[in-house]
Each structure stands twice: as C-alpha cells, then as structure tokens.
Symmetry: C2
Subunit: 366 residues, 2 copies
C-alpha cells in the first residue's frame, strides 16, 4: 500500500472517503472488492486514457479477482452529450452476462469522464455504485468529489445530469505526470478558487510552492490535492445539493462559463475561463467596494506566476451577457455572482448591475 | 375545493402528500404556486391525454397565475425510451425564456408519462420539482407514488432511470371515467397485489365492492385508491431505494415482467401480466408448502370476478426463464421471488427451483 492521504466526505448514509497518493490506481481492485456485495466492475474511460491506464486498472481488478470490462468513448469535451451517453447505455446494458445492481461503475479519466460515467452510473438500473478515479488535476480537486454528474446540451453546459455520490474516490497523483501543461493549469485555477473562497493559507502555499507545483513534484501535489479536497468536501458536506454555501464554488464561474460558451468549448480550458471569470468577479467586488484592491492584485499575481492568463483579447459583453442569463444558476433571469469580500471569504450577490459587468469584462479583455 | 383525501408520504426532507378526490386537476395551479420559489410549470403529457386534460391543466395554471407550457409525446409504452427522452430534453431545454431551477415539471397521464416526465424532471438541471397528476388507476395506486422514474431499453424494462420523489401527487378520480376497461383492469391487478402483500381487509373490500369498482363509482374508487396509496406510501417510507421491504411490491412481477417481454409490450397490459405472475407465484408458494391452497383459490377468485385472466395460452418456460434472469432485480443471475405466506403476508425467496417455475408456468398456461 503506497503512502496515502485519506479525506472523509461526510454525507450521512452517502458518506465516502477520498484517497490521495502515488500509485493508488493499483488499489482499484481491492477498493471495488471492499464494497458490500460488490459484483463486477465496468470501467469507463476515453480513448486517450484507455491507452495509458486501462491496463493498470484491469491488472488491479484481476489481482483482486474482480471481473472487469472496459468501455471507451472518444476523448474530448464534445463527448459529454446525450448521443454518447445513449451509446454508452446501450453498451452497458448490452453486456453479457447482464449487469445487475451489484455492478460497480469506475470513472477513469478527467472531468468529462467523471461527469459522463457518473451519469451512466446514476441512471443505469436506477443507480449503480461509482468509483471515481480521476486522472487530471481538475478532476482531482473539483469534479471527482461532490456527486455532480452531467452532460452538456446545445443550450448550455451541464444542463442534464443528476446528483450521484461516488462510493469511493481514488486519486493517483502519478497520473499527473501524463497531463499536458494546459490541463495542469486548468486544475490550478480551481485550486486558486478554493483558496480565495475559503483558505488564505492555501494561497500562501500555492505562492510559496509555485515551482514545485509546476514541476508536478509528487509530495507537493499530494498535499495540494489533499488541501483542496478538504475544502471541497467540507462545502459539499454542508450543502450536498447546492441550495446554500455550495454556490460559493461558483466563484469565477458566472462569467467563466459564458466565456467558455462564447469562445467555444475546446478553444479554452475550463480552468483558464474560470481564471478570467475570477479576475472579472474580483474586479466587480473591488468596484463595488466589497473587496480591497489588494485582493485583485494578489489574485492576478498568483494566476500570473502559475502561467494562467488574466486577460483575453476580444471578449465582448454583448455576447457574454445572454450566455450568463441562460446559465442554470440564474433564477428567473437574475444573475447571481459570487464575489470575494476578503481573501478566503465570499458573498453571493444578485444585484450586480450591467454597467459593473460591462466594466469588468472590458477590464479582462484589455 | 372538492372533497379530498390526503395521504402523507414520510421521507424526511423529501416528504410529500398524495391528494385523492374528484376534480383535483383543477387544483394543479394552486398546488404549483404553493411550492417554495415556484416558477413556471412545464406540463408533459402524451397525445391522447393532451386532447382530454391539457386544457383543464392550463386553465388551472392560468387561474393561479402560473406560466405554463405543454409538451407532448406520442401515446404508448414504446415512447418510454431514450430517443423520446432525448427529444423531450431538447424541448424542455430549448424553451424561451430558458427554464431555471424553480421550474416545476408536471407529469399528466398514466404510468408511461409518470416514468418519462419523472426522468426528465430528475435529470434536467440535475433535478427539478415534479408534480405527478396520474390519469390511470395503475398510475394512481402504483407508479405516481414512490419516486421511481424510468425508461425501457431493448435489453429490458425500466433498465434506465433514477429515484426522484415528486413534490406533490394529485389524483383526480374523475379521470378514471375516460379510462378504457383494459386499463382499469390493469390497475385493479395492482390493487389485488397490495391486498395480498399487506392487507387482507383490502381484499375483503375489493371482493365486497366489485360491482361498484367495475362501474367506477366515485366514492368507491376514492376509497380504493386511498387504501392502496396508504399501503404503497408505508412501504416506500420504510424503504425508499428498494434495499428491503420495497421488494415486496414485486409480488407477481418476476414472472409478470417476463410475460410482458415475451408476449411483447403492448400485447398485454402490465396489470394483466402481473395478475398471471401473481397466480404463478402463489402456485409456487403452495407447491413449496409456504402458503395454504386456499390463498390460491381466493386470489384466482378475486381476479376472476374483476375480469382479469388467470390463464394465458401458449406461455413457454423456455422463453420466460431467460427474460427473468435478465431482470434488474436478479442478482448475479439468481432469481428472487416474492411469495405469499398468507393473505396479506409475503416472503422473499431466492431458492425457487427451475422445476417449480416450470410447473407454475404450465399451471397458468393451461
């Protein structure tokens, strides 16, 4: 058993543990086998991840004498849609022998895989157990914890989905070595987000260890991931279904999602869009006198040192505003913003004016 | 406000009330408006129900000043599939102005509509509130209560779905007047099932009031529905996700589902298949010495007086057994049977032999 950090996610009878450490994918088989009445495993991954990690997953299952199949879908954000979901359901339900309620779904991959395989697990036989094995930093610190599953729709991101908590999460930090820089940066933006909404000492850590983080140094990454998962787990435990404080996780996302939609999914990473959204939200907070100007300076400084852009040419409020209004977090067309009040503290606000939004978008497109 | 019976379904923070009475569809608007932060309503119904009841629903919404849209799908069990679900999701997510988390989905129709619209509600924006307005006896006493939503798949019935409890259930007994006899009988089979698994006095009631029931006499039907909903509500409250006693509701369903699959959906009603399945299960129980022969006599007598067949020509165990093994309730290929031990009592058994199953199928195909 490799060195391992364990973070509990407390959700009553839906509680589970997140394990973080190098080589944890080798523990997949034992983790499946440890679930009550565990049957076979169905591993879902994209074509890229299959080439690198499906073998390790299968070996681990075989070692624990768990029967396992691997189902693949084409890599890319554009796979997170109903037609790919329908094809996967056909494959899962067409397996021989047929799956039953003891079958365990394993989501092996990044955020797209977690969302798509998670939705398959949520809806096959009205809910199968799910193990999240994230392989990207973004999935490690964000999407693999908390039970959100979902698909995109032409009308917007994540408009289809369900809450379905995993039975376990295994974060193998060694998988970060196969991540390209762009994807690493995308995850780091969410780490900065967590620091900004809850924990100034995490921001201190990121600033002090920037070089080790960018070099993907194992211990540093394990600590970074653990600290982020603890923040996410605490928020999810307090508000599983996003009726309250879980909304804080949307810091940077109101404008960030709109940027993703307007620039075109695939042309910008989620984290890079969120980084721009955080700068814009922080700018709004400073303009309104809610946050000190120093917060914006420190946010931009941290993003900049990591290599995340704080400006993007050609953003246009006339394009971004309609996309924001269509976001599922909007209520009756009213935009809700999560704005910093200090580093480590945010407030939810629904009276941001169009003028303030326009000014902030001009600021980040400068 | 018409005369009304109210049955609570106790499920912690997912509790809701089932209301039963004549003319309750007129209360839809007020019911939507009474939900916290209720936004607009999206009514989903099939083409047949739309012609009869969509106007009433819309009038009631308008009177309560609730904005409402009606979305339709083709009538028939064959609509309970992924392609129709995908089309409905496109429609729901394509509405102008866009739906938000305060939008309330209304399932107006029989069991197919409840399952399909319920799955739409479960998965649009990761879960919208749902009001079930059943218009068939089967949906009244069975599918509208308990939160099961689902779609059929070529591999089997209800293999796709989610648990999603409604926020309210409105059972307008006047809608029974537009139900054809075949559909009425289908619902009555489930009433006999509830009596057999939990309440001998309900069987007494059905036997004593058979004529009034078959004439759809309003007070009799309201009492019949109330008594059945109370049984279903108690079982669902005790076991929301079917890990224990909820399995008792599957009395007659192991063989019944297989008959539906083998005869072909649409060629036999769900209730009629369940009636045959109950006779077969009761036969197995008598053969094993678990139930007194008198139980089988009384079951067949009750079904017979109502007009439900207790025999069906040409059933073949060689066809039915593989379908049973593929049922999602099977575990690792093992068949589970709910067998009566007395009238009003059942036990779950997983050691029924193939010989016992063959004998029972020969019995009902005699």
């Amino acid at each position: 058993m490799p060195a391992m950090r364990k973070i509990p996610v407390n959700l009553g009878d839906r509680s589970y543990a997140v394990r973080v450490g190098p080589g944890l994918l080798d523990e997949l088989g034992r983790t499946v086998a440890s679930l009550p009445h565990a049957g076979r495993a169905v591993v879902i991954c994209d074509s890229n991840v299959a080439a690198i990690y499906a073998g390790t997953a299968q070996k681990s299952l075989a070692k624990a004498r768990v029967a396992g199949e691997v189902l693949m879908f084409p890599a890319g954000e554009e796979s997170k849609v109903l037609p790919v979901y329908c094809r996967l359901m056909d494959e899962v339900l067409g397996l021989t022998p047929p799956i039953d309620r003891n079958t365990v779904v394993v989501a092996l991959g990044g955020g797209v895989t977690g969302d798509l395989a998670g939705f398959v697990a949520a809806t096959a036989l009205r809910g199968l157990r799910l193990i999240q094995c994230p392989t990207s930093l973004l999935a490690d610190v964000d999407s693999s914890v908390g039970g959100k599953t979902g698909l995109d729709h032409p009308a917007g991101k994540n408009l289809i989905g369900a809450f379905h908590q995993p039975a376990a999460v295994l974060i193998d930090v060694n998988t970060l070595t196969t991540l390209d820089r762009r994807q690493l940066l995308s995850g780091l933006a969410e780490c900065v987000k967590h620091a900004f909404i809850r924990d100034e000492t995490l921001l201190d850590f990121i600033e002090a260890r920037t070089a080790d983080i960018l070099a993907c140094q194992t211990d540093t990454m394990a600590e970074l991931i653990e600290r982020n998962v603890r923040i996410k787990a605490a928020i999810v435990s307090a508000d599983e279904r996003e009726s309250g404080v879980r909304a804080h996780l949307n810091f940077g996302h109101t404008i960030g999602h709109a940027i993703e939609t307007s620039v075109g999914l695939g042309n910008i990473t989620h984290g890079q869009a969120v980084a721009l959204g955080m700068v814009a939200a922080c700018k709004i907070a400073v303009t309104r006198g809610m946050a000190p100007p120093a917060a914006l300076v420190r946010l931009e400084g941290a993003l900049d040192s990591l290599g995340l852009a704080t400006r993007e040419n050609g953003l246009d409020a006339r394009q971004l505003l309609p996309a924001m209004r269509h976001d599922k977090k909007a209520r009756a067309g009213k935009l809700r913003f999560v704005l910093p009040t200090a580093i480590g503290e945010v407030a939810v606000v629904d009276d941001v004016t169009e003028a303030q939004i326009n000014q902030a978008i001009r600021y980040i497109s400068a």
